[in-house]
Assembly symmetry: C2
C-alpha cells in the first residue's frame, strides 16, 4: 500500500509540515520505499518533484520539506510497489492535460482485471494499474464532455461514478486535482481535516515536530489536508467512508 | 530571447557542469530572469524541475546544479519572457504524452500569427506562442501517425518540415526529445559538441569553473551537448545552420 497526501487552501500555503510527516513514512517509519512524488499547483501551472528513491533518503524530498513552495492545491504520494517495477515512469503523481488544464492524480491500492480498460488516445507510459486507471478516467471524461464542461462539481460526480467501477476491481483510494478543485475518493482509508481560525498547535505522529499554525497564518486562511492516515495526534481528523468521496475548492468542502 | 540546453548520452550522465553555466545566464551573466526549467529522462520516465524565479537565485536550480541526476536525455531552458506573462504554466520545457511516450519540448524565439494554429485535443494550458506551437506539432504528428510510428528518424524528419513552417512565422530554435532521441532545430542560433575518448578538460565561459572529463567518464562514453551559445571556451562547438536540424540518439548524431 502507498500513502496519499493532498492539500486544498484558499491562500497559497506551504505543505512542509505535512510533507515532513509523510516522507518519514517513505522508508523511515513506514515501508514505502519505492519512490515518492509531489505536485504543486500555482494557478494553472504545476510542478512535480519525484524520485524513485525512498523519500527518507532523497535530497529532493529534503529540499521539498525545507523549501516553502506555496500552493492552493497539492497532491503527493509515496509508493510501495505492487504492480509495475520501481522506476520513474511508475512514480506518482501522474499529470495529463484535458480541456486546457493539467490534471494530477495519485492512487493508493491495487486493481485486478485493469488491463482491458480502454484508454483511447490517453496511453499509459509506465506499467502500473494506477496510470492505466487514470488514462481510462480521462478518456471517459473526454468522451462524455467533448467541450470544456461548465459545471465542475458535476464532472467530479461523474469521476466518483467511474471510481465506483474501479473500486469493484480492488482497492482504489485516489486524489485528483485540476489546480482549483481537489477530489478525494475513498476505497478503504482516507482522512481529512480543515484548519481555520482560531488556529492552534499540531504535532506530527511520525516525528517529534510541533507547529504553531497561528504563527504561519492569517485569520482568513482555510486549509484542508487529506491523508491515508492522520498525520497529527492532537487534532480530530474526519474519516471518509469507504465508497464515499469529498470535493474541496480553495480549502472549503463542496461535496 | 531565451537559452536552450540539451544533452544526449549513451550512458546516464549528469549535466551539472553545463547546467551550472546555463543558470549563470539566468539573471547572472545574462538577462534571462523569467524562469527556467529542466527535464531529465530516466528510461521512459521523466522529471522536470522548473521555477518562474530567475535560475540565478533559485534554490531548486542550486539543487539541480549540485545533485548529479544521471540521464541519457535532457532538455533545459531559461526564459526571457516575450509572449505570455511570467508564470509557472508559461515556463518551459513542456511535456505531453503521445504514442505512450513523454515528449519534451523547449523553444527559443518568438512567433507571429501563431494564434490560428490548430491544436485539436492538445490544448495549451498557458498563453505562450511556444506551447501553442508544441501543441500544433503534436496534433500534426498524431494526425499523420494514428498508430505508433515504426521509423523514428522519419517522424523527426516530419517534425523538421513542420518546424520550417513555424520558422516562417518568426524565430524558432527548438529542442525536442522522447527520452531516446534528441532533436535540435535551428532558426538562428544552436551549437553542439560531442565529447568522447580521449576526454579532456573544459572551462565554462560564464564562470571560473573547469572540469576534467577524464575523471568522470569511461572510455566508451559518448555525450553530446546542444546549446544556444557555446558554454565552453576551449573546445570547438559545431554550429547548426539556420533552417537545418540535427538528430541525436544516445549521444551519436543520426541526422
Amino acid at each position: 500500500m502507498c500513502e496519499l497526501l493532498g492539500m486544498s487552501a484558499n491562500v497559497p500555503t506551504d505543505i512542509c509540515f505535512s510533507f515532513a510527516g509523510l516522507v518519514r513514512r517513505g522508508g523511515g517509519t513506514g515501508p514505502h520505499r519505492d519512490g515518492w512524488g509531489i505536485t504543486f499547483y500555482e494557478n494553472k501551472g504545476c510542478r512535480t518533484f519525484k524520485d524513485p528513491q525512498p523519500s527518507y533518503e532523497s535530497p529532493i524530498a529534503r529540499l521539498v520539506s525545507e523549501y516553502p513552495i506555496k500552493s492552493c492545491a497539492v497532491v503527493a504520494h509515496i509508493r510501495q510497489a505492487n504492480r509495475g517495477r520501481v522506476s520513474l515512469e511508475n512514480t506518482h503523481p501522474f499529470t495529463r492535460e484535458l480541456w486546457g488544464r493539467h490534471w494530477t492524480y495519485a492512487h493508493n491500492g491495487q486493481l485486478r482485471g485493469y488491463r482491458g480498460l480502454e484508454t483511447g488516445s490517453f496511453r499509459p507510459v509506465g506499467e502500473t494499474d494506477s496510470e492505466k486507471a487514470f488514462c481510462w478516467l480521462l478518456r471517459s471524461l473526454a468522451a462524455r464532455y467533448t467541450e470544456t464542461p461548465r459545471s465542475w462539481p458535476q464532472v467530479f460526480r461523474h469521476v466518483a461514478e467511474l471510481s465506483h467501477e474501479l473500486r469493484r476491481k480492488g482497492v482504489f483510494n485516489m486524489l485528483l486535482s485540476d489546480g482549483r478543485y481537489l477530489m478525494a475518493y475513498c476505497s478503504t482509508n482516507l482522512f481529512w481535516i480543515t484548519r481555520r481560525a482560531p488556529f492552534g498547535k499540531a504535532r506530527l505522529l511520525d516525528q517529534d515536530v510541533e507547529i504553531d499554525f497561528r504563527k504561519q497564518t492569517t485569520p482568513n486562511d482555510v486549509v484542508t489536508v487529506i491523508a491515508t492516515q492522520p498525520l497529527t495526534g492532537n487534532e480530530t481528523w474526519q474519516r471518509i467512508a469507504p465508497g464515499d468521496w469529498r470535493l474541496f475548492y480553495l480549502g472549503e468542502r463542496r461535496v
